[in-house]
């Protein structure tokens, strides 16, 4: 059984574009169309957010998309049905990202099994403790060939980064700044130093840079130091205003990658 994330990183070494959006936003059934549009436009990874009522690591843009999605009636069960639909036409790697509480209610093991069976390649659960993953779920994830991505931030110690690297399959999510999600303009010299520091650690896993990636300039800059970058809030802003999802997503992805 192959994993599309590890395959991608094996063959593509740079400028990988991971695009995040919230399931069920702007409309309940847009989840599928957006995935199709992203593949057509040339994105490399599709990261779909499981909406949650209390997304503490997110800024106002993603908070609002979560709320709208929940008001639209989005649930984790429905998202998995949408993934099944997406997999009929889309072959890009798919990651599900979400806070742990909805996953606990679904059942962590059941979630991993069902997601994997439907063609999900990886998950990001930012508030799942590393030790709990290692003790309770790592073996299961391995048997399902499901990647698990952990976050690191500028304040994460080297010792801990190495621990996270050892526990990770796929890639590491390097948060660009000590902050919640959302665009902030260009990177500071401290941020660049942090990217260089990560580069010099020679980790076993590649890393993607996320938080504050909003345009071609930040995407290109982040990609200089990493395997690529993750765009979230800027894409949510685009979706909120989109008149024609397919055309607008296409233009957005092309403008990032140029």
């Amino acid at each position: 059984m192959k994993n599309r994330i590890t395959e991608l990183f094996a063959k593509k070494k740079g400028n990988i574009l991971n695009v995040y959006y919230t399931a069920g936003f702007p409309a309940l059934n847009d989840t599928v169309r957006i995935a199709q549009a992203l593949e057509k436009a040339g994105a490399d990874i599709i990261e779909i957010g499981i909406p949650f009522s209390d997304p503490v690591a997110d800024g106002p843009t993603i908070q609002e998309s979560n709320k709208i999605a929940l008001d639209n009636g989005m649930t984790l069960h429905l998202l998995l049905e949408q993934v099944k639909e997406i997999r009929k036409t889309v072959s890009l790697p798919i990651i599900l990202m979400g806070y742990i509480n909805p996953v606990i209610q679904y059942g962590v093991e059941k979630f991993a099994k069902d997601a994997s069976a439907l063609g999900v390649d990886g998950v990001i659960i930012p508030d799942l403790p590393l030790h709990e993953f290692e003790e309770q779920y790592k073996a299961l994830f391995k048997s399902l060939n499901l990647c698990n991505t952990f976050l690191i931030s500028p304040t994460t110690s080297e010792e801990r980064i190495r621990k996270i690297d050892a526990a990770t399959e796929g890639f590491i999510y390097a948060v660009s700044a000590s902050s919640i999600t959302g665009a902030k303009g260009d990177f500071s010299s401290e941020q660049v130093q942090y990217f260089e520091r990560l580069q010099n650690l020679k980790l076993k896993n590649p890393f993607l840079i996320g938080f504050g990636i909003s345009n071609h300039s930040t995407f290109a800059k982040a990609s200089q130091y990493s395997a690529g970058a993750i765009v979230g809030s800027a894409f949510i802003n685009l979706l909120r205003e989109a008149k024609d999802i397919s055309a607008d997503v296409d233009a957005f992805v092309k403008s990032l990658k140029k």
Partner: protein, 393 residues
Amino acid sequence: MKYTVDQRGYYGQFGGAYIPEMLYPNVEELRNKYLQIIQSDDFKKEFQDLLKNYVGRPTPLYHAARMSEKYGAKIYLKREDLCHTGAHKVNNTIGQILLAKRLGKEKIIAETGAGQHGVATATVCALMGMECVVYMGKVDMERQRPNVERMRILGAKVVPALSGSMTLKDATNEALRHWINNPTDTHYIIGSVVGPHPYPDMVARFQSVISEEMKKQLQEEIGNPFPDYVFACVGGGSNAAGAFYHFLDDEHVNLVGVEAAGKGVDSGESAATTALGKVGVLHGSKMLLMQTEDGQVVEPHSISAGLDYPGIGPMHAHLFETGRVKFVSATDDEAMKAGIELGKLEGIIPAIESAHALAALNQFEFDKDDVVVVNLSGRGDKDLETYIRWGKY
């Protein structure tokens, strides 16, 4: 101490630290240092001195004769309402600000529901000359206006939380976001026994002075440190944690936690977590949580802003699960009546939070010799508008 936190930060299946990586270094620093700091002689001396000379501890344990007559038991009120700032919350904020100073932090943030924790935080920040930002739900700012102005007079910046139901849960989300954005110079003073480990344990320890004093005072008053019952209201659970703490291993002491039933446990507008909640994760720990089947947090309701929280902290969740504490609830109406009754019988107007603890007394059949301590966690000044609006006095 079989009901307190274990080495890894859990109470049975509850607790832990479910936090995004951006908060990990802060929480880890606290976890590594809190016990060493709060058990040091220098800390203890400063903490005890402030509790005595600034807060006004020990607070009285008052024998409420007319209440005793009415309920057919020996009723004592632990007068936390007489603490400086008007509630037990200051016990914890004094402890945490002394800790924050020793961690080299310069700025303080806090969340608040009723405003009592916000006021207690603003107070200790003024005392220590530290910058203070308090997040408070917009709805709570409206229903607890005097406390908003008190915080401002004390020099704190009060920031409205505009997400969700705009109450305590949302204020806590905003405070956590602020902490993520300011990871090095800021300490987050959580006001209840919630949050990632070590917060629940740390807050419980700072509040445990309540039961420590109760024991001493009961020994002096009746020659026995153990009451038959201790009643306390539970929102997140800080005053109850303090009131129960030193009795947890004495199983003959009946401990009763009173939750806010709002308009009724089954009305859809309630905050009675033990009746309505399931195991879940919010604000960094595994607790009992009111939520949908899909794991979305349900908006709670209580007339009392301080109990308007959709979960109970991990220590209480464990005490509920093991049966060590009996959890009951009181509705908005029952609490309002009990608050007014205390005014008429004893000349004390309690906070509406504390009135919930009083409102549960008539759910029990006491023996006339039973010693019943009710933790009167706060005073009612801040609730005057709610009392006036409720009318019936």
